[in-house]
Each structure stands twice: as C-alpha cells, then as structure tokens.
Symmetry: C2
Subunit: 366 residues, 2 copies
Amino acid sequence: MPRHRVTQTDVAALAGVSQATVSFVLSGRTPSGVRISEETRQRVLDAIRITGYSVNPVAQRLAGGHNQILGVFTYETTFPRGGRDFYGPFLVGIEHAAEQIGVDLLLFTSARVVEGSRRLTRSGWQRLGIADGCLLLGQHEERAELQHLLDTNYPFVFLGRRESEGGRLPYVGADYLAATKRATERAADLGHRRIGYVGPTGSDEPTSDRLSGYRALMAERGLPTQFIDPADPGQTASEIAERQLSAVLLAPEVDPDELCRALAGRGISVPDDLSVLLLGQPHHRLPGPTLWSGFTIPREQMGARALLLLSRLAGTAGAREDESTTDLHQLLECTEVAGETLTAPRAPDGSANRLPAAPEQERNNA
Amino acid sequence: MPRHRVTQTDVAALAGVSQATVSFVLSGRTPSGVRISEETRQRVLDAIRITGYSVNPVAQRLAGGHNQILGVFTYETTFPRGGRDFYGPFLVGIEHAAEQIGVDLLLFTSARVVEGSRRLTRSGWQRLGIADGCLLLGQHEERAELQHLLDTNYPFVFLGRRESEGGRLPYVGADYLAATKRATERAADLGHRRIGYVGPTGSDEPTSDRLSGYRALMAERGLPTQFIDPADPGQTASEIAERQLSAVLLAPEVDPDELCRALAGRGISVPDDLSVLLLGQPHHRLPGPTLWSGFTIPREQMGARALLLLSRLAGTAGAREDESTTDLHQLLECTEVAGETLTAPRAPDGSANRLPAAPEQERNNA
DNA sequence: ACAATGGGATTATGCGCATTATTAGCGGGT
DNA sequence: ACCCGCTAATAATGCGCATAATCCCATTGT
C-alpha cells in the first residue's frame, strides 16, 4: 500500500478550505443548498492539480458513492480451458465499452462453484456490492437468485434475453426469433420443404425463441415442422436420413462438424444432399474450415451494449445517454451469413440441382 | 444497493458481544494480546451462521485489511478485437487460479490510453489500491512506472521476465533462453550449419533472451550467427535466399505464414528447402493448419503461477505456501514442439536429402 | 490484606469520502 | 435594533471494519 496517499483532507489544507468543500467541488453536486464560489472552486482545483490528488475508490464506495467499477458475473468459467471459448467474444465487447466510458471491470471468480456452475450465494452476492453494478452472463442461471437480486434494487443487466415478471429484468439479447425465422425462410425460398430443426427443445429463452422462429415460418408456408433431439450424432444423422430432410437448422448446442461426419457415413453429403443452417456460432469448438450458412450472434456488440446499459443504470460517470442505452430490453439483430452449406434442394426426381445460394447481404458487427 | 446488509454490529448484537469481538473471531488474529474464549467464539460463529453475515470487502479494504481482490493490468487492450488474442491464454490460467484460491479479479480497463498503450498514471495507479495486489502484463511497459510502483511497496507481479535493480521486481516468465538454445540445438543436431535468426533485435528481455540462447548454441558449435530484421516479408525472404540459410528461427513478431508465402514466391519451400522453428506462438493471427516446429510458451501455466505468487505476496487468504509460490523470480519451461517444419538440411552438394528438388524459377516481386 | 498477574473482552479510533445539518456574514426592509 | 433572506462555507456524522488501548475481574503470590 502506498505510503500515505494524498487525501481530500490534504487538498483541503492546501487550499485553505474544509474537506467537505473539496468533496463538493469534486463531485460538482451540492445537494443540500451548499454553494461554492467560483473563486474557491478554482483554488481547490489548483490544489488538486498541485498535490496530484485522485480519489480513493474504496472510500468513495464505502461512503455510498460510485466507484466506476462494474462487475461481471459468469455462471460458468469465463475462460474455459481447452479452447472452447464461449464468453471471449462477449468480453471483447465488454472490455472495449469499459475502456470507452472509463470504468474498471471486476470479474467475480471467487463465487462458489456448485455442480460445475457458479452460484450467487448470499455471501457471494454481497460481494457484488463492491461494484456499482453487475453484468450477468451464463446459461445456467438460477431464477430464484435473479428474483432476489431484482428485489435488492442492485443495478444489473443480463446478457441474453430473460423473461421476468413485469419485465423488470434489464437485458441485452440477440433476436433469435427473427434470425431463425429468416434462416428458415431462406431455405424455404430456395424450395426446401422438408426442413428440420436439430437441437434441444427446452424452455429457456434462447431455445424457445429459436423454436418460435422456426415454427412461425413453417406455419406461414404451410410446411410441417420436424424436431430432432441431438442426443447422439449417429442417431441424429439416421433420423435426418429417415425423414428425408433436405435442410436442417442446427442449434448452437449441436456440433456441425461431428454431425457432418456422421452424415457422410450414411452417404449424405453437405450441401449436395442436405443444406445446413447454423443458428448461431456452435458452442463446441473453434471454427473449422467450413463456412457454414445461417447466422451469427453479434457477441461483441451485445457485450458492449450491455455494459453501456449497465453503466447508465448504475449511474456511473461517463455513461452516455444516447438512444442505445435507453431501452431496458434490447434485442440486437443477428448477422446473416451466406456461407456455403445452403443450396437449393435436389429436384424430386433425384437429379442434383446445385444452385449456389444467392449472395446475401453480409453485415459486419463492429 | 442492498437494503441494509448484515454487518458485524448486527452479528455482535445477536451474539451479545462487541463488534470488535466479531472482527477478531472472523480474522482469527488477535494482534494486541486479545483473547477470545472458545465458548464466545462459538456463539459468534453461530450468530454469523444465523444472520448469514458476510464481510463487506470495501469496508474491509478501507480499514486496512485485505479484500481478496487481485488486479490485472494489461498495457494493451486485454481482449483485442479482430481475432488476434495475445492475453487470452494468460487470462485462462489466471482465472483458473483465481477460482482455486477464491479471489476476484479486477481488470483495470479505465487506465488512460496513450499512443495505443495503457499508462499507469498517478491517478491510474491510485486505483490499484482497490485490490490487494496486481498482476502486470504487457509488452510496452514503462520502466519508470515500474520503479515507482516498487517504491510504494504495493504487491505486484510481472508476467514475463523483467530485470530490475536488485532483482526487486517479482515476475513469472518463460525460459526463452533455454528454449531457444534448445531449438537451435535441434537444428544443429540435424546437420544444419547456416541457421539464421529472424526477428527484432531490441533489448527487451524476451528478445534479448532469445538472442542469447541462439548465440550461445551457435558459439558452442562454432557456427556463424546471422540476423535478419523482419521489416518486410519479401525482403526477409530474399535475404534468406541470398544467405543460403537452411534453417531459420522465427521470433513471435514474425508472421510465419506470410513469410512462407514470400519464400514460396522465391522457390523456397518449407521444410524441404528451409527448416523453420518458431520461438513461441506467433503474435499475428490464429493458428493456421501448419504444425510449426519450435516451442510454445506455457501461457496458461504462467498466468496461474503468477497469480499464485501474487496471492502470496499480497497476503491474500487461500494463498498456498508450497514450493511453487516461494520464488520471487520464476522461469517456466517452454514446451518443445516437434512439428513438421524441421528436417535435415539438403546435402552440401545440392542433392535433395529427403525429396527430390524441384528446380524453381526465382521470381522477383520487390 | 493487597499488589501483581493474566485471561477475556470492550471502548475508542481512524481509514477517506459523501452528505446532512448548521453556522457565519451581510445587506436591506420595517 | 431586529428579523429576514441570501450566499458561502464548515462541522458533524456515518459507511463497516481492523486494531490499539483500555478495562474488568478472578486468581495467585507474599
């Protein structure tokens, strides 16, 4: 620890005023009818410059103020070992935004781990208090905990759409519904009629949004929906063959490379026999050489937007008040990827019909 | 903010003791001859359990204690955009270690950025005080700042070997010297005699360690050293051809893929005409398909070890006192990679040693 | 009987800041 | 003279904890 850091008291002494005055000048606020003359203000400012004073964030926070620290709580290990990196892209955006608005980031790595997932226990969430607010990200969050957090009035933002009673839970998510619907539409527009959905059918928001998008488009076109649970790649491949699907949508939980191998083993090649559309970056591994069609989740942008929103909610300085941080519930557009795994289906007679996918408008997330 | 968190005073009231007693029981320490009876201790412990008390890290820190937060300061953006990810692997190790010993991680993203590199200004380093100690990582650190930090007696650890007067600066680095020497030796053992070093020749520790390793082995074997500055890939390739090198060591600053392309343009193929050894993971891009020979830097391990060391220096609870955290200056062994870009050199007469040489036309594209 | 221990806990204080309540000075209206 | 209103600032307090200083009381020694 530094040998006696410069405190407001030191500054006050130099400027010939009281510590409180220094505090007022620094904060710029004068809540209870306190007035500071311009002359005094300048004297204090000079003293600050001379002494090189800078606020002690810890004391600041203890005294009930803000300390320009925003927390990041991940329900799973933030940086998993062995390559699989789910949070990385989010963090990129988060860090970038943090740098922009000048806040520090506190990673809550000390939370107790229960069954491979971090838990926000009472003692755990007390720690959140260090930060002005907290970003929550993860797939295995506990509803009860969230509810509790909401009740405490502590500012936080969830990364990913999450429903809550009264919509009190702020979030920044990706519009899976629209993106999935659009992906399905692309397949349908090319002439596919037997379009299957491969992925879990849970009730969590990302999954149910994807399912809704798929169902909506299929209903619009009067096509039958087909769901396959990706328990085992071989099993999945067999079902695809059996049902004679000509296109499949793959949830991120499915490993496309693995599935492709299983399909190849059954004489089905992608995209000649089967078009494949990814509904977001797959969780499983680093991107392989295949350029998958479908869409990607704008993770960096989500991270950045979430931090900006949190910053506003937490009343952190540097928070901008522009339109991008106004809405408590933000859904960002996913990025459509043309890719090379989507083609028109074979004609009913079995002859190949290899029209390359129309080049889609590709947008880059910042 | 929580509606009145449970404080030590609350616990004390319930247990029928004073706040100080609670503090003593919690810390386990009794610095000034204070004694607590076992019975009282139990009563306090029970009260803690009942109330669900957990310490307020902010107050704890302000009062001069530890708060189980360790800082991470990176001189460059921690998570760079656009794929290039230098710190990622370190962070993986750091986070893992942090989880192990139960500390939170504070990322100092608010530091002022000057010329693309973060700076530890006075106001910046005052913020470090939030944490019990701080990990420093980066390539463009400022010596003066480090010196200043040392003087303040604030606990920190540098990630990467850094010299300092009196060896007062604790660090955890990789043994580039030994690893480079060994890489050079592998080439020499295969019969290479014209072994060049491609990379910057600055005086920073990583670079100078690599150079020393190279020089040492070449001297041992009585071979002439040859240095090439990698200003431009084409230029570099030309020089390699001109000097008729049969093997080159590549510093991480060099992009091996790019160089390879330039070499191919001059009719030099790797590894048939030229063996290539990487002295650590290249900075430039995501790993391509080529399996480069050479060595890799154990980044995860370095991160973890550094955090463990820091934890001990900072006196953080949970810090283990085993041999791995005892030494203030730790050099970790690099991982040797066999790879596929190292082969025996062509025989002196010019006939191919492995594969028949395909006489190539030399092209100039300066 | 009384001072000298020493175990067992308390009181008091301060960390650096935010904030509320309060004070001091001063000109003008009556 | 007195109160009023207004400006300009200060004193006081508390956030929750660590810790030094202190205190109380039952034993023990002489």
